[in-house]
C-alpha cells in the first residue's frame, strides 16, 4: 500500500512537470498556429471582394500651402500617417477610402493670406485629407503589383501660430485657422505580392473653399469667424508612403 502511495506521489510530481512543459509547448504551438492562420487570413482577406481590408501608411509629406513651401530645416520635419480602406471588386479593380494626415511641428515664415489681409510667423501645420479613390492594377511583375489610384479629395489644414511676426488680421496665438479644401488625389503604389506591403507616391492638389478662425481659449472650440466662398488658393503636395495591411 505504501509502495502504491509512493508511486502515486512520485508519478504525480513527474507528471505535473511533464504537463507543465507540455502546457508551455501547447501554448507556443497554438500561438504559432494562430499566427499562421492570421497570415493566411490576410492573403484571403485581400482576395475577398466583399470584405474591406485596412492598411496603415507612414511617410513623408512635402506640402506647399498658399505658396509656403518648406524652406528651413524645421519645415522639413513632417510625419505623415494615413490609412486605406479598400473594397475589392475583383483582382484588378477596387474602391478605396484614403486618409492622409500629416503633422509639421514648426513651419517658419508661414504667410497665411486671409482674403486681402495676411498673418506671418511660425506655425504648426496639421493636414487631413479624405479621398475616395478608384484603384486599378496597372502592372504586374514577378514580385510586385503596380496599382494606380485617382479620385476626389476633401480635406482641411490647420494652422496654429506659436510666433507671429507680422499681422493685420484678427488671428492670434490662441486661435487656430482651419481651411477646408477640395481637390483630387492621384497615386501609384508598388505592392509586394507576398507580404502585401507597399510603397506609394501620391500627389494631392486642392483649392481652399472656406475657412474658420477658432477660439482655443476655451474647450468649446467655437468658431469666431467663418468665411464661405473664400478666395481660391492652392494647396499641393507629394506624399511618400510606406504601407502595410492589418487585414
Amino acid at each position: 500500500m505504501i509502495k502504491i502511495l509512493l508511486f502515486i506521489l512520485i508519478f504525480n510530481l513527474s507528471a505535473a512537470e511533464k504537463v507543465e512543459k507540455s502546457e508551455t509547448f501547447i501554448k507556443a504551438e497554438a500561438a504559432e498556429k494562430a499566427n499562421k492562420a492570421r497570415e493566411a487570413n490576410i492573403v484571403k482577406k485581400v482576395a475577398e471582394i466583399q470584405n474591406p481590408s485596412l492598411s496603415l501608411t507612414f511617410g513623408y509629406p512635402y506640402l506647399v500651402i498658399q505658396d509656403n513651401a518648406p524652406k528651413y530645416d524645421k519645415d522639413f520635419l513632417s510625419l505623415g500617417i494615413g490609412a486605406l480602406m479598400e473594397f475589392k471588386f475583383d483582382e484588378i479593380n477596387a474602391f478605396g477610402i484614403v486618409i492622409d494626415s500629416s503633422f509639421t511641428p514648426q513651419h517658419v515664415d508661414f504667410d497665411f493670406q486671409k482674403e486681402s489681409k495676411a498673418v506671418g510667423g511660425t506655425t504648426s501645420l496639421l493636414t487631413s485629407f479624405y479621398s475616395f479613390n478608384y484603384l486599378r492594377r496597372v502592372g504586374i511583375t514577378d514580385g510586385y503589383e503596380i496599382i494606380g489610384s485617382i479620385g476626389p479629395a476633401v480635406g482641411i489644414y490647420t494652422l496654429n501660430y506659436t510666433q507671429i511676426d507680422k499681422n493685420d488680421t484678427n488671428i492670434s496665438k490662441v486661435n487656430r485657422v482651419r481651411v477646408t479644401n477640395y481637390g483630387v488625389r492621384a497615386g501609384v503604389k508598388w505592392r509586394n505580392r507576398i507580404t502585401f506591403n507597399y510603397f506609394e507616391i501620391a500627389a494631392i492638389y486642392s483649392v481652399s473653399d472656406k475657412y474658420s478662425v477658432i477660439d482655443d481659449s476655451t474647450n468649446d472650440a467655437e468658431a469666431i469667424e467663418n468665411i464661405e466662398n473664400a478666395t481660391e488658393r492652392k494647396t499641393y503636395g507629394l506624399l511618400f508612403n510606406y504601407g502595410f495591411y492589418l487585414f
Binding site: I8, F11, N12, A15, A16, K18, V19, S22, E23, I26, K27, A30, A31, A34, N41, K45, E48, N51, P52, S53, L54, L56, A83, M85, I97, I99, S101, L126, S128, Y130, V154, I156, T158, R176, R178, T180, S212, I214, D216, A221, E222, A223, L246, F247
Partner: protein
C-alpha cells in the same frame, strides 16, 4: 486500470488549462442588427451621459432636421479628433470582435456604427462631422487591432496581474469564451505514454 490511475493523477495535478484567443464565426442578419443596436444604444447612452450641458445649450429637433446628413469638418481640437475618437472606435471594434465577427467585418460594422452615431445621434446638437465619421472607425480599428494582439498575449500569461492588464486594455475580452485545453494521457505501453490535447470551444 493503470490508465485510469494516470488519468486521475493528471487531472488532479492541474492538467486542465485554458487558452485565450478569438474565434470567428458566421452571424445571422438578426444577430448583426442586434449587435448594431447594442452599439447604437451604447453610443446614445454615452452621449446623454457626457454631453448633457451641450444638449441643453445647443440641442433641438429643429437643428436635428437641419443637420441631417449635412456633413462638415468640425472645429474640435486634435487631441479629441485623433486620440479620443480613436480610443472609442477601438472599443467598438473590440466589441464586434468579441461577438465573433472577423476583423474585416468588425471594421465594416464599426464604420457603420460611427456613421449612425454621426447621422442619427450627434446631429441633435451639431452637424455630423467628416473627421469623426472616418477617423473613429479607421484609426479605431488600427488601435483595436493592436489592443487585441497585445491583450491576447497578456491574457495567456501565467501571472494574474498581467492578465488583469490584458482585461483593462481589452474589457470586451470578458465576452470572449475561453478555450479549455485538456491534456489526456494516451497509454501505449508501461514505458511509453503521451498526451492528447483536447480544445473545448463551447
Amino acid at each position: 486500470m493503470r490508465l485510469l490511475l494516470i488519468t486521475f493523477l493528471l487531472l488532479s495535478s492541474n492538467s486542465y488549462s485554458s487558452y485565450f484567443d478569438y474565434t470567428d464565426r458566421d452571424h445571422t442578419k438578426g444577430e448583426v442588427v442586434l449587435d448594431q443596436s447594442i452599439v447604437f444604444a451604447g453610443h446614445l447612452s454615452g452621449y446623454l451621459l457626457t454631453q448633457g450641458d451641450t444638449i441643453d445649450k445647443n440641442g433641438s429637433w429643429k437643428k436635428y432636421n437641419e443637420h441631417f446628413l449635412d456633413f462638415k469638418f468640425d472645429n474640435d481640437n486634435t487631441n479629441w479628433n485623433y486620440f479620443g475618437h480613436t480610443y472609442t472606435g477601438s472599443q467598438v471594434y473590440l466589441f464586434y470582435r468579441a461577438r465573433g465577427y472577423t476583423r474585416s467585418k468588425s471594421f465594416a460594422l464599426s464604420f457603420l456604427s460611427s456613421l449612425w452615431f454621426e447621422a442619427f445621434i450627434e446631429n441633435y446638437t451639431e452637424q455630423p462631422s467628416i473627421q469623426d465619421t472616418f477617423n473613429t472607425p479607421v484609426y479605431g480599428t488600427a488601435l483595436g487591432f493592436i489592443s487585441e494582439k497585445v491583450s491576447v498575449y497578456l491574457l495567456n500569461s501565467d501571472s494574474v496581474y498581467v492578465r488583469a492588464l490584458g482585461r483593462i486594455i481589452n474589457p470586451f475580452s470578458f465576452m470572449v469564451e475561453q478555450k479549455n485545453v485538456a491534456f489526456v494521457p494516451v497509454y501505449r505501453d508501461p514505458t511509453n505514454y503521451s498526451f492528447m490535447v483536447s480544445f473545448n470551444y463551447d
